[in-house]
Amino acid sequence: MSTVARFEFRYTRVLDPSGALVGELPDFAGDREALVDLYRGMVRTRRFDAKAVSLQRTGRLGTYASSLGQEATSVGIGAAMAADDVLVPSYREAGTQLWRGVTPLEILLYWGGDERGMDYQVPREDFPISVPVGSQALHATGCAYAFKLRRQKRATVAVLGDGGTSRGDFYEAINMAGVWHVPAVFVVSNNRYAISVPLRRQTAAQSLAQKAVAAGIPGEQVDGNDVLAVRHAVARAVARARAGEGPSLIEALTYRLGDHTTADDASRYREEAEVSAKWKEDPIVRLRSYLANAGLWTKADEEKLLEEVEAELTEAVDAYLATPPQPPEAMFDYLYAELPTALVEQRRLAAGGEDDEDGGDG
């Protein structure tokens, strides 16, 4: 008998949960501004989440999926990408989207039930969030194919959760990306739960990174609550992709501290003790401890940052609440490039509401 293949996976961690340096400090981390930017990104994401959840709880937003506890993964991905790369997100990447220039107002409009929230003014080519779990990974493969065909030095980054890796389309995406050798990076934000189903019931595999083996692409693990490690690992993968060295898969080990969405109650399927233990790995505290211990962050800095973020988000919430809904005929206006004749009458009915003279059901 002979061995056909052997595999091993790298695990990257730079800071431990206490904020102590335990790995090699990436080059970018020598610059205070870069570190503060990452910290600001995570704080902004967490405050945004809190505002969104509070809006939902008071009946002013639809169902919302918070990324509480996963900010390092989300922001680390954003920081690793260039402006002309393309993000293909799931619904828990507000941190990445905000970093890339999607506005808090746009994200609120989306969850508040308005398609205009997907018409991002800044990352014009980024995909809108994908609700069908894992289905978006294929779009990254196809988008990366376009980059390769056009000889553009750009990369796509798809983000999905641990649940998504159980689906066939995820495998099809990494498999085709491998065959085509396209500049795509697949990040699995492993927050340990797919709604109520824990990872051990999701797969018998020892890691999700090893799913890369079947597709013949590199896979690695990173501490998903260590923003320095996430940024470093994703940046490495993006650089490889841009250099024509093909796709890769990164599993970011994080933890969902909140409910799946505002419609979920996580206490039905996990113990409070488990969650409170995980709070000790809070990614925001981790980087703040590192910054403070290095003398790079003061209480005054913290207060100033919170004030700035609060002002920005309050303004976004006000703008969201002041945005009137689209007119009913907007349902038809982007269905096709040009409205087919067959739909003209339906559009007229929707706009006029003449059968709704009692005001409809609303």
Binding site: Y120, L149, A173, N175
Partner: protein
């Protein structure tokens, strides 16, 4: 001008589209070296190279999903699914993403892709190779569903589908892939979408159909003429969205309508046409709308498939019933 079959016209249109627009590319299983199991893509790999004529892994969902990613970047992918019976893994991608990309992003991104598949029975193929499930796609807002029924229309409609800025499901009636040859000019002229073609004018009854049934229906109309019945034959061609104006106007003249399709009866596109005739053409109807379709059964294996499909005899019998009514 070349004399070509329907599948030859598909090949000609694909070659034309690849020549005219560098954003067009083809992907699918066995479409490259093998030229496609029906030879629809024969010779295209040699002419346009492996970057634009892609032999994909056996991965239907992957073909559709990656095409969406390409289309969002402004490429115009033409994806082939080998048989309609294997198209179902694409449904999540087509329904959840392709059909709604433009709507979700308020036009920021769009999905100018074509999903081609041979469909329908009658070629004594194995299980899962003979279904006609166009109604599944016709139900989905944001899609176009286009079905050619002659070499000329295959060429023009496929060019139109590829140039269309929105996703098109393009279903090719494989039973008549090689039945008829026509002179087709490779002039790059597209045929109109969302438009019914009136193939035969008549005053007694309107026969409405699409796909391979067009050949049977035209033959039935010729035989009915020998009985003194003057039938109008309409090829719907775009089954989503429907050009009801042409159908309603025809029935206003004839007062009678027979709808013919291979797909099962219940919830078929014929049901939508009949419902719209009932609401828009009721006063001109002199007889109930007849439907000649596949039965509400599983498409049988090849020994019984001829008994499943709408035959000329069934089409003529339905026309006679409509004419005898009242």
């Amino acid at each position: 001008m070349a004399e070509v079959t329907l599948v030859g016209a598909v090949n000609m249109a694909l070659a034309r589209a690849l020549s005219d627009d560098e954003n067009v590319l083809l992907l699918g299983e066995d479409i490259g070296v093998d030229g496609g199991v029906f030879r629809a893509t024969e010779g295209l790999l040699d002419r346009f190279g492996p970057e634009r004529v892609i032999d994909t892994p056996l991965s239907e969902c992957g073909i559709a999903g990656s095409a969406i990613g390409m289309a969002a970047q402004g490429l115009k992918p033409v994806a082939e699914i080998q048989f309609m019976g294997f198209i179902y893994p694409t449904l999540d991608q087509i329904i959840s993403h392709a059909s709604r990309m433009r709507n979700r992003t308020r036009g920021r991104l769009s999905c100018p892709m074509v999903l081609r598949a041979p469909f329908g029975g009658g070629i004594r193929a194995p299980e899962h190779h003979s279904e006609s499930t166009e109604a599944i796609f016709a139900h989905i807002p944001g899609l176009r569903v286009v079905i050619p029924s002659s070499p000329t229309r295959a060429y023009g409609l496929l060019l139109a589908a590829i140039r269309d800025p929105d996703p098109v499901v393009f279903l090719e009636p494989k039973r008549i892939y090689r039945v008829v040859k026509e002179e087709v000019a490779d002039d790059g002229e597209a045929a109109p979408l969302d438009f019914c073609f009136t193939l035969r004018e008549g005053i007694d009854v309107t026969l409405v159909t699409w796909g391979a049934c067009v050949e049977d229906t035209l033959a039935a109309a010729r035989e009915l003429a020998e009985e003194g019945v003057d039938a109008e034959v309409i090829d719907v061609a775009t089954v989503k969205p429907l050009d009801m104006d042409t159908i309603v106007a025809s029935v206003a003249r004839t007062g009678r309508c027979v709808i013919v399709h291979e797909a099962a009866l219940t919830g078929g596109v014929g049901a939508e046409i009949a419902a719209q005739l009932a609401s828009e053409g009721l006063l001109s109807l002199l007889a109930p709308v007849e439907r000649v379709t596949g039965y509400d059964t599983i498409m049988p294996l090849l020994r019984l498939e001829d008994r499943y499909m709408p035959s000329r005899a069934r089409i003529k019998a339905a026309a006679r019933r409509a004419l005898a009514y009242g």
